[in-house]
Symmetry: C2
Subunit: 507 residues, 2 copies
Amino acid sequence: MELGKMVELLFHAPAQETWARTDLKVSFSNEEKTVTVKGFYDGGNVYRARFLPENKGHWEWRTEGIVEETGSFECVDTGLKGRVRAAGTHFEYANGDIYRPFGTTVYALAHQEDALVGETLESLKHSPFNKVRMCVFPKHYDYNHNEPPVDPFEKDDKGRWDVDRPCVLFWQRFEHILKKISDMGMQIDLILFHPYDRWGFSRMTMEENRRYLDYLLARLSAWPNIWWSLANEYDLFPHLKMEDWFEIEEYVAAGDPFHHLLSNHNCTALYPFERENVTHCCIQSSWTEHAGEWLREYRKPVIYDEMRYEGNIPHRWGNLSAFEMVHRFWTVCVSGAYATHGETFVNDEGVLWWSRGGQLRGESPARIAFLKGIMDELPGPVEPWEENPFGGVEKMTEEELEKQKEESPVGYCFARGIRAMEPLHRSAWISGETIIRGRCGKDVFLRYMGRDCASSVEMALPEDEKYRVEVIDIWNMTRTEAMRDASGRIRVELPGKEGMAVLAVKA
Amino acid sequence: MELGKMVELLFHAPAQETWARTDLKVSFSNEEKTVTVKGFYDGGNVYRARFLPENKGHWEWRTEGIVEETGSFECVDTGLKGRVRAAGTHFEYANGDIYRPFGTTVYALAHQEDALVGETLESLKHSPFNKVRMCVFPKHYDYNHNEPPVDPFEKDDKGRWDVDRPCVLFWQRFEHILKKISDMGMQIDLILFHPYDRWGFSRMTMEENRRYLDYLLARLSAWPNIWWSLANEYDLFPHLKMEDWFEIEEYVAAGDPFHHLLSNHNCTALYPFERENVTHCCIQSSWTEHAGEWLREYRKPVIYDEMRYEGNIPHRWGNLSAFEMVHRFWTVCVSGAYATHGETFVNDEGVLWWSRGGQLRGESPARIAFLKGIMDELPGPVEPWEENPFGGVEKMTEEELEKQKEESPVGYCFARGIRAMEPLHRSAWISGETIIRGRCGKDVFLRYMGRDCASSVEMALPEDEKYRVEVIDIWNMTRTEAMRDASGRIRVELPGKEGMAVLAVKA
């Protein structure tokens, strides 16, 4: 058995009355600890139990319930990276390698016919993306009205969904797809609930939700690369209150022995990311300049998991220019956060990437690959580089303000005026005043100019180091050396157009 | 004498001790009313008094003070448009014609050498602009450090500015320039105070300010095309409190017998435009999508008199792309408000349009001319076309909300979520959700798509009229007929790129 790779045990026993909750547990023990997982029913007389070994060495296991078996195995380190977890405001694999999410969105990927799923997987293989946001349940929304090939539950004799009998074929097919995505080295940001539904899966009772989750958690928790996204737009479920979401959150966290990444995705109001089970901020927002503030506020990784999509549909959330999509990625990534792609181009086949998959048609993925390549060169994750200048003004003491009054009376008035503004006005009103910049310690300094067309920019590098400075054109994907052996306060010449970045790397 | 044209009377008397306040008044009377103006000293033994006749027919005048004279004249209507005034949320000339401001900014226009002033005026002549924002006092700021050719005051024997002795040469030269601008049919948005100063004009006492204003008001109030902009960035004067600005506002309003347009320009906090003397909202803000809200809030004309400038300087307020400048004009104008241009390109001569004038180098003026041409075709000013959809959600009653709950549970949750958001979040967070559209009664419907790249847009035209529909490319300046005889709900095909507008005109 390999460190960080799912172990699966196979058992045989007669089918029970309920398939969702199986009377089968397996405890895995090494010298230090015991981890208990639940088995799940997989059709016929087949039961399985899955375990994710995260320690090397000797493991013993023992079942409890409808079968009684024991066994053991040796777990060796074959160099797998393992499960991704949050580390500060960033992510890392179990082996300590940095994981930088560059996700994409294909909500109903698994609910398409096989040929289309195959096409989608082929597209993913040639894309820069390393995370897929996708739903367990089928989705009903504009451009996506097809029936899923398989339903997630069997029906009872009255034709209603029987949550006690998850459809084994559904799950086998679903996992078959997840496996192919996993084999490409991608993370799966699995959406457990969503409101765009005509079948009733979004309107199940809390008890039904729990039974659904029982099966899902038993089946999927040992996958090393799965994340729990409790919902897409959790705040659009008419029947669920905030307390219900807290209960779902607790239930998922308690039911997952491997502590996968867990968050919840909003339409309007952010989920309370400060909650202990929440590992990172999953944000729907176009307010990309606010990334730094959210990082400061929550001190967890921030992913803009929806910030509108590249495309041309009439819905405004789906008609960003490719440049704007790329611009948002740079804004977010240089601020030390992460972003997720989506694509919504009208086409004759009616297959839009964001929901059904198919082919990527846009111009942003190539530029996202370019950005990813630059980020992958960095020696560490991007951290904030100084404060937002307004942040500084905000936090000035009265004494500092008085001093400013002497030194620069007009600057004093400006500071006073900014302090008196509602925080959001500073962004919307005096727009573009948030400076987008990040650093990796003293090794790397990054400044993204956004839509500013400056002919030059000043940067204050450390005085005691020397840097190689490049000017990056995010759209044309060029990197041009601007300076060598630069130190201290420098002025970098720029071409005076949108989408320029400056990268200073310690020589 | 012509209706709407300044009348000037010339008198001779010895110079008095103070030149700022002259013991000379002239009352102009017709059958209905008497208007009293103050005379002003114009050097040597010359005094002048100026009057703006806004009624036709017989006028008699009579002096009071250091000269005693009487006279009369006939005022005839020669078809002049007359003074611009606010009319609802728009502007009109005294003759009832619509005035649509398309302004530009040349702060220190009058404080440059004659050759440069001449070049600037020549540029203005070939520009689309019909309003110039410019300062009375010289300006000290980056890219603009030159001494003015003439100072506005004489100095006393201790070398201090003597506000009792305005420099007559300064005013004659200043008016010479104003005259040339006026002869091009332009409005002059005259900035009475500004904080970017090394000479001390921004730090005069309130008594000194009043004396300065006495002379200015006596001299300039009868110009038909002058507007009072109390300040540029009134909130950046360390020594002036809000009450001081109110006093200045009252003083200017009371000292101007002809009730010119009057407003005050902010850096951070808007001036309280609800005040009675304030005729329109003069706004510095990049928040162009908020135009409709400010129109609703103040019910006065709204001009974005500063919304960053086209250019490439490192200062972020001066490096918009030309597209962004044009995009902001369209956003504002289609919302029923008005916008002002400025340009800040680094150049070898160090002459940046925004402060010193010279030549226009940017690509936005041609596009602003294109927009102005379209606006000038409209039968009336642009009014809001329905409400902001979020405005609607906000204002829903609880009953309407409950009804929504039945009809569209997800829509209900969305409405509830939007209502719970801070208003500014709606703009910054779910950005681009403000729909930019305007109308002229049932004659014209306008929709601006902004940076959205939609491949089509739906519009709901009146069912009982027929419209010719054009698709406008704001950057390439093309107008393409899309439909004839369109009625009711229509879908207009678009090319799926930024900067498109749709214009529907009643056949």
